[in-house]
């Protein structure tokens, strides 16, 4: 039997057993039939996302369809039997489950994708990189700083993977002319994924876990795009600077001079100007929502409309959108909704004596768990699994109030999840950089572990400051 078959069997059998067990088996009082089914779906999601017998986005679709079949108000007739019994629990509306495919979070990401796609198509990304790199000169350490700043900046609005792919292809000709023994090669090849991973933290659309966090933050008082950046951006700057110092210290660069040649000129067509203007206006609207009242989700649809209407994004381009990422997030939202609406999340939290744990230990535990899991599996899948539970925990545990309550715990987990970058498999940017052949796994791990732990500590500092200024 192959390894992948074993994975498939484990991932199917265990949730199936859970599904078939009677409610009384579970150590939770008054567990309803619906809640028990949600437990089954949750374990299925967990095993599938961790073991990955099928692609992670496919697991999301599976979750949504299973919810429709098992716990919706229009589910399969056999699963509806006894629905008027007292301990059956509440079924979810099928409309609500299906709507997760087009939830505001998904629209926010769609807008981000349209911006990124148009920027690549009209070469705004590459031209900006060329212009912005210039002031950093030709001294290797400065060039590296420039690369990191630009990579991080782009990954705030573009996917971390696309940003890394672009920066690595800019970097490739330079890496080829380094002396074979020069450790600087490693520094350069590593600085791109590190900066891309970190950069995604700065905005709600920078990386999917942030958007998922917005969903849960909405229950405890929303955070606007600008507010997120007001703490995310400084956080990224500090951690980026730290990583730059770390990389230069660990891998000293011997080459005296580095010249990055990026070809091209800014496009001066009408469509290109529309792209530049829409980009600028959208970001402006995102940052200054208090001036116009439109929230980030609504603003995100403006570039979608503009680029579709002007043909800047055409039918073919639509196929280049990462629909898999959108579906991955949808499944996470659907799972969260099921945990919340069935009452299971609160029920579980109420049944475990969390109050006995010191709040600080719980915060540290949350961050550690998020960081660890994200190192071995998809950051988004980690957020999908952990955020619903952490959110429920945050709202029920009163001892957390002194430290910022639910909001604090959600942000703590979200930031930690993005800091998992110690292995080539941790994130797509890591995998791409590792494949350049310039980085050994232990070098990547060393940097990833140090940056990850420092990042988590910095998150604690940031949350402390946010609490001090009474933001959370």
């Amino acid at each position: 039997m192959t390894k992948s078959n074993i994975k498939k069997i484990i991932a199917v059998i265990i949730p199936l057993i859970i599904f078939l067990l009677p409610p009384s088996f579970f150590p939770i009082e008054n567990l309803s039939i619906v809640e028990k089914r949600v437990i089954g779906i949750f374990f299925l999601a967990a095993f599938f996302w961790v073991l990955e017998p099928i692609p992670i986005y496919a697991t999301s679709v599976l979750i949504i369809v299973l919810e429709l079949l098992l716990i919706s108000d229009k589910s399969f007739v056999l699963f509806m039997q006894g629905s008027d019994a007292a301990n059956f629990g509440t079924l979810m509306s099928y409309r609500e489950i299906m709507a997760t495919f087009a939830s505001p979070i998904i629209m926010l990401f769609l807008g981000g994708f349209f911006l990124a796609l148009s920027a690549t198509k009209y070469r705004l990304d590459q031209n900006l990189a060329r212009v912005l790199l210039k002031p950093f000169g030709e001294k290797p350490k400065m060039v590296m700083m420039g690369l990191m700043v630009i990579t991080a900046g782009f990954s705030m609005f573009m996917s971390n993977t696309a940003t890394t792919a672009m920066m690595l292809s800019i970097l490739a000709p330079v890496l080829a002319v380094f002396n074979p023994g020069d450790k600087g090669k490693t520094a350069f090849a590593l600085c791109v994924p590190v900066a891309a991973n970190i950069g995604g933290i700065a905005t709600p659309i920078g990386t999917p876990p942030n958007a998922i966090a917005l969903k849960y933050l909405a229950d405890t008082g929303t955070i606007s795009f600008g507010q997120w950046m007001s703490f995310g951006f400084p956080f990224v700057l500090v951690l980026l600077l730290f990583s730059w110092v770390l990389l230069s210290a660990l891998f000293p660069i011997e080459t005296p001079k580095i010249k990055l040649a990026i070809k091209g000129k800014f496009l001066k067509t009408q469509k290109a100007y529309i792209v530049y203007a829409t980009f600028a206006v959208t970001i402006f609207l995102w940052l200054f929502d208090f001036l116009h009242g439109m929230n980030a989700y609504i603003v995100a649809l403006i570039p979608v409309a503009v680029f579709s209407a002007t043909g800047i994004i055409n039918k073919e381009d639509l196929k280049n959108l990462s629909w898999d990422v959108l579906w991955l997030v949808s499944g996470g939202i659907a799972l969260g909704n099921a945990l919340d609406k069935s009452g299971l999340a609160k029920n579980v939290v109420a049944n475990i004596p969390f109050e006995a744990f010191p709040a600080l230990a719980l915060i540290v535990f949350t961050a550690t768990l998020g960081l660890l899991m994200a190192n071995f599996m998809s950051n988004t899948a980690t957020a999908n699994l952990l955020l619903p539970i952490i959110a429920a925990l945050g709202t029920t545990m009163t001892s957390l109030e002194d430290f910022g309550g639910g909001k604090m715990l959600i942000l703590c987990l979200t930031f930690s999840v993005s800091l998992g970058m110690a292995l080539p498999i941790s994130t797509p940017p890591n995998a791409l950089a590792h494949a350049t052949g310039q980085i050994q796994t232990n070098q990547m791990s060393k940097v990833g572990v140090i940056v990850g732990i420092t990042g988590v500590l910095l998150t604690f500092v940031m949350l402390y400051v946010l609490k001090m200024v009474q933001f959370i």
């Binding site: 994708f113 996917s159 696309a162 792919a165 995998a431 494949a435």
Partner: protein
């Protein structure tokens, strides 16, 4: 999981052996098949296709008994089941007219001359393999160590 195949076609055994040896670094992830004639190749791709296997690259000699390499590649080029399949002509004996047909009608992706350099062949095949994997929407992360970096990065840059 459905495997990815690369097919080498040449009527000379020793050429096939050398090509296979040159492509050895791909062996962990890719099956390399050897065929001694165009007809054998057509039969093989029929079988592979019915088993749901991927045919990423076909590397063919031109002058062979029976159907020529260019005719073979032309036939595959016109078959809508193999739109993403990459075609390489590896020959020392193609005439000017053969070459024109190969480019215009067989839609070949590479023309390599015999004798060839092992590294050149491997690099070209890696590029084509990467393009095939990306265009077919296969999970590229599984094949990371046999992919061509620049081709991979170019494809990923366009995805958002």
């Amino acid at each position: 999981m459905s495997r990815i195949n690369i097919i080498c076609v040449d009527d000379q055994r020793d050429v096939l052996t050398t090509v296979s040896r040159d492509l050895q670094p791909l062996n962990n992830h890719i099956d390399i098949e050897e065929c001694e004639s165009a007809d054998e190749t057509l039969e093989l791709i029929e079988d592979l296709d019915s088993e749901g296997k991927h045919i990423a690259v076909i590397i063919s000699d031109h002058v062979m008994p029976g159907k020529s390499g260019v005719e073979l590649l032309k036939e595959i080029n016109e078959d809508n089941r193999f739109v993403n399949t990459k075609k390489v002509l590896l020959t020392g004996l193609a005439t000017h007219q053969d070459t024109i047909t190969a480019i215009n009608q067989a839609g070949i992706d590479r023309y390599l001359e015999k004798p060839w350099h092992a590294e050149e062949l491997l690099n070209n095949v890696k590029e084509l393999l990467t393009a095939y994997i990306m265009e077919s929407g296969l999970n590229y992360e599984k094949y990371m160590d046999v992919l061509d970096q620049p081709t991979l990065l170019n494809h990923l840059r366009k995805r958002h």
